[in-house]
């Protein structure tokens, strides 16, 4: 029976891997870059499987990439400035605290409830050190779950399972508006 289930799982994984283009669970409602500070309003509806992983001690690491892009020529738009920030969401069972940590600045905030931590993640305010984007015509924000930072046993399923594949989102807006 176990053999049958395993074989079925393998086949399902391979079949799912063949299916590309899953709907995004991260939606960026709005964003701005002002005086080297990124402010973004996100909406994330994570799959129950992801939340279960969080509650079971799996640290979720997010990569937030901000790009300032120049005027496009033909099909090419040059990047004027780019920064990537790394955030980590983690649960501590002893203190029952959820912690959102800025891995680059080594700053952390603890939250007594998961909803508070998720709300903090959805209301991002991140400093962009040495940010110089005077000639930027538009900004582009990408956020996604770093599946490579997941535990080894979870990485291969994360390649195929939609719950993990959908943890990303992107948003672009003109520089003047920002």
């Amino acid at each position: 029976m176990a053999l049958w289930k395993s074989t079925t799982s393998v086949l399902c994984c391979i079949a799912l891997a063949a299916c590309a283009g899953a709907p995004q669970a991260f939606v960026v409602r709005g964003a701005s870059v002002d005086s080297g500070m990124l402010a973004a309003r996100l909406e994330w509806r994570p799959d129950a499987r992801v939340l279960e992983a969080l509650d079971n001690g799996i640290a979720l690491q997010f990569d937030v990439r901000v790009q300032a892009q120049g005027a496009s020529t033909w099909f090419w738009r040059p990047t004027v400035a780019a920064r990537t920030r790394h955030l980590q969401l983690r649960y501590f069972p002893l203190s029952r605290q959820y912690q959102l940590r800025d891995l680059d600045l080594n700053q952390a905030r603890s939250y007594a409830a998961r909803a508070l931590a998720l709300a903090a993640l959805e209301d991002l305010r991140l400093p962009l050190p040495e940010w110089k984007a005077a000639n930027a015509e538009r900004y582009r924000l990408e956020i996604d779950l770093d599946r490579n930072a997941l535990p080894g046993a979870l990485r291969m399923p994360a390649l195929f399972q939609p719950a993990w594949r959908r943890c990303n989102g992107e948003f672009a807006w003109p520089a003047r508006a920002g």
Partner: protein, 732 residues
């Protein structure tokens, strides 16, 4: 080109090994990574892609080899079927263990992972976590009391004095950090006893919300690697609109810090592992599946290679055997191993060389024998005597053309067959063949006898001589030589008859004239002198004597004609003119009806007109006498031209409506004194035949289909430009 093919061959050999190594490495890395926390995640898609690529490469190579094997099987390439059989056997040996190991490993793996999660262990970890939480709650309550006391002391302190009061309190309360925030979240004063906590933690909205709602925020928070107790509460008696908040951070005791951290980490690891159980199973299943697939495909590849390596020498051996069977001994057999197969190939190569040598010797010997036999065969073919060569079993081994002609049988077709087969197909040859076979059976060394063959109306006399081949009498075979004595016999008989005729003519003809003269004298002397009755008797007696003497003279003349040596005056003449001249003599005879059917044209012969005329008279007279008085004679004379054996012939046929040829009419009827007629001399046909043969022709007799006989004279025809044609009348 050779370099490219060598590279291709090397690539073909290395590619499977590289693919297998790649798969093994990838599987090992993934297995290690799944069990631990190494940072290979970024390579996972590449590793999976490489695995799939390697599997596809292996599959392609296997399919290619299968296709090639199928093509070889269809073409009937030597060794292909053996290759398939060996490959199937190897697969049967290799596949079941791999599949069994795969199934058992999978079950074992899943069972092992499940055993990691012991219920009692989980309970113990959960309880220890609860104990830790209880302890922290206890410590948190104490921290709240301490913070409340501090807040009481700071309640009426002005903002500018807060810093000095905090500096005094922090050591007294054992806090890591004490901070006072204004209503706008500004830091009014902060004191720290820990270098890592110099900057105060600013309460966020969630903390403030709880302070407003519950009057205090107290929680254990992970800060860095430590767990700190954080208490935030407003300072009492503060002026309205100027609320101030006191935030205090307290450490856990160092020992408890370590213990609680350990408890949390253990629980943390266990929960994470429990959550990852299914993922672990899935990952290990994938890895195991890859490895098993690798094993199966590699086993398949190895089976192909081993089968081909094993069967290649046998295939080459089969090819060489086929070549040897059709007489080719130059098939190369490279020996690449020193095992039994190598020994077999070496032995076969040696045998091939010896066979080639033997065959060469045999061919040379056969050629020499043939060279030696060629003159003998040439002589044999030109012999007028028939020759048959037989072995001791009676099998016909050789014969010459004369034997074929004399016996009128296609003897070469019977070579290699028993002589009795010839006898069965040609029963007329039985007297000869039975005699030969009898002598062969008896083992006679040498014999000689006369054999008479009778085939229809033809009679042949053969002189048969036989001898055993080989001087030592080793029984290698016998040779039978026979001469056709028929012509010789006939010539001897003709000569004898001629001698008889000559003597008859000499001995009988001489006294006939005196007898006739004496009879005529008696008649003249005594006629009329005797009484009438005696006169009548004398007349009748002398008349009879004279008539019989005339008859005897005619007969003696005929014998004279037959015995006369051939002295013919051969000249070109027109056959139709000569025949017409003879027939004109019979044209006015009312007793007979003559019909002429001459072929178109005018055949010219080289012949003696007088002898030919005599021949025609003999044939016509023979027909008239044969018809007798039974009916009105009807004689039809016809001619026709034929071409036979490259020679032009003219045939003259004299057909009658008589009773036909008598029973048993044969060659002897053309001999003298052979007649079926009461008054015949028996010399007419003999003379006619003799004249025909004098002219190089022949005479034969047949029965007509509608009744009667036909005598056919065949004479060689002369071409028109051979000379002036002479009128037979002039010749006569």
């Amino acid at each position: 080109m050779a370099r490219t093919s060598r590279l291709t061959r090397v690539a073909r050999r290395l590619l499977p090994v590289l693919a297998v190594a790649l798969l093994l490495g990838a599987a090992l890395l993934m297995a290690n990574d799944a069990a631990g926390d190494s940072r290979l995640g970024a390579w996972y898609p590449w590793m999976l892609g490489a695995c799939v690529l390697a599997l596809v490469a292996l599959l392609v190579m296997i399919v290619q080899r299968l296709w090639r094997l199928r093509a070889e099987l269809r073409r009937g390439v030597p060794g292909a079927r053996l290759n398939r059989r060996v490959m199937l056997m190897l697969l049967i040996l290799a596949l079941p263990p791999v599949l069994v190991v795969y199934a058992f490993s999978l079950n074992f793996l899943h069972a092992t992972i499940d055993t990691w999660f012991n219920v009692r262990l989980e309970r113990a970890l959960s309880d220890s976590l609860e104990i830790g939480r209880a302890y922290i709650d206890e410590r948190l309550r104490a921290a709240q009391q301490t913070a409340t006391a501090s807040a009481q002391q700071l309640a009426d302190v002005a903002d500018d004095e807060l810093q000095s009061r905090l500096d005094g309190l922090i050591d007294a309360q054992g806090a890591l950090q004490l901070s006072v925030f204004g209503a706008d979240q500004s830091v009014l004063a902060t004191a720290s006893s820990d270098a890592q906590l110099l900057a105060p933690l600013v309460p966020d909205s969630a903390v403030l919300l709880q302070v407003q709602g519950a009057g205090r925020y107290a929680a254990a928070e992970p800060v860095g690697a430590r767990l700190l107790l954080r208490v935030v509460q407003p300072l009492p008696r503060a002026a309205p609109g100027a609320a101030r908040l006191l935030q205090a951070l307290y450490p856990l005791p160092a020992q408890m810090q370590t213990l609680t951290s350990g408890v949390e980490q253990a629980n943390f690891d266990f929960q994470r592992l429990k959550y990852l159980r299914e993922s672990l199973k899935l990952t290990f299943t994938l890895v195991l599946t890859f490895v098993s697939l690798l094993s199966v495909l590699f086993a398949l590849m190895m089976a192909f290679g081993i089968a081909r390596r094993l069967t290649a020498p046998i295939g080459r051996l089969a090819t060489a055997t086929r070549a040897v069977s059709i007489g080719r001994y130059d098939t190369p057999l490279p020996i690449r191993s020193d095992d039994e197969l190598g020994f077999l190939l070496a032995s076969f190569g040696q045998m091939q060389r010896e066979l080639e040598l033997s065959n060469s010797r045999l061919t040379h010997s056969a050629q020499e024998t043939e060279n030696q036999r060629a003159p003998a065969r040439s002589v044999l073919e030109r012999l007028s005597a028939g020759v048959l060569g037989l072995d001791r079993a009676g099998i016909l081994r050789t014969s010459n053309r004369a034997a074929e002609t004399i016996l009128d049988a296609p003897l070469p077709r019977y070579q290699g067959q028993h002589l009795s087969q010839v006898r069965r197909d040609y029963p007329a040859l039985a007297p000869l063949l039975d005699g030969i076979l009898a002598h062969v059976r008896e083992g006679a060394r040498e014999w000689r006898e006369e054999v008479v063959l009778e085939r229809g109306d033809e009679r042949r006399i053969l002189m048969l001589r036989g001898a055993e081949l080989g001087e030592s009498g080793d029984g290698s075979g016998v040779v039978a030589v026979f001469d056709d004595l028929t012509q010789l016999d006939r010539a001897q008989r003709d000569a004898a008859w001629a001698e008889v005729a000559r003597r008859l003519a000499h001995e009988i003809k001489n006294p006939l004239t005196p007898i006739q003269l004496a009879a005529e004298r008696l008649r003249r002397r005594f006629m009329g002198r005797l009484p009438p009755d005696e006169t009548e008797l004398l007349d009748r007696a002398t008349h009879t004597i004279v008539a019989q003497v005339e008859a005897l003279k005619a007969m003696v003349n005929s014998f004279g004609d037959y015995s006369r040596p051939p002295q013919i005056d051969v000249r070109p003449l027109s056959l139709h003119a000569l025949v017409g001249e003879v027939l004109d003599l019979y044209e006015n005879d009312q007793r007979i009806q003559l019909t002429r059917k001459f072929a178109p044209g005018d055949p010219i012969l080289r012949a003696d007109a007088g002898r030919l005329r005599q021949l025609l008279h003999n044939l016509l007279k023979n027909s008239l006498e044969a018809i007798g008085d039974a009916r009105k004679p009807h004689i039809e004379v016809s001619t026709r031209d034929i071409l036979e054996n490259g020679q032009d012939w003219t045939e003259l046929a004299v057909a009658d409506n008589g009773p036909g040829l008598p029973e048993g009419f044969g060659a002897r009827w053309f001999e003298p004194y052979t007649t079926s007629k009461s008054k015949g001399t028996g010399l007419g046909l003999a003379v006619a035949k003799k004249i025909a043969e004098e002219h190089g022709g022949s005479l034969r007799a047949d029965n007509r289909p509608g009744g009667g006989a036909v005598f056919t004279l065949r004479l060689p025809r002369e071409s028109r430009d051979s000379g002036a044609v002479r009128n037979p009348l002039e010749q006569a």
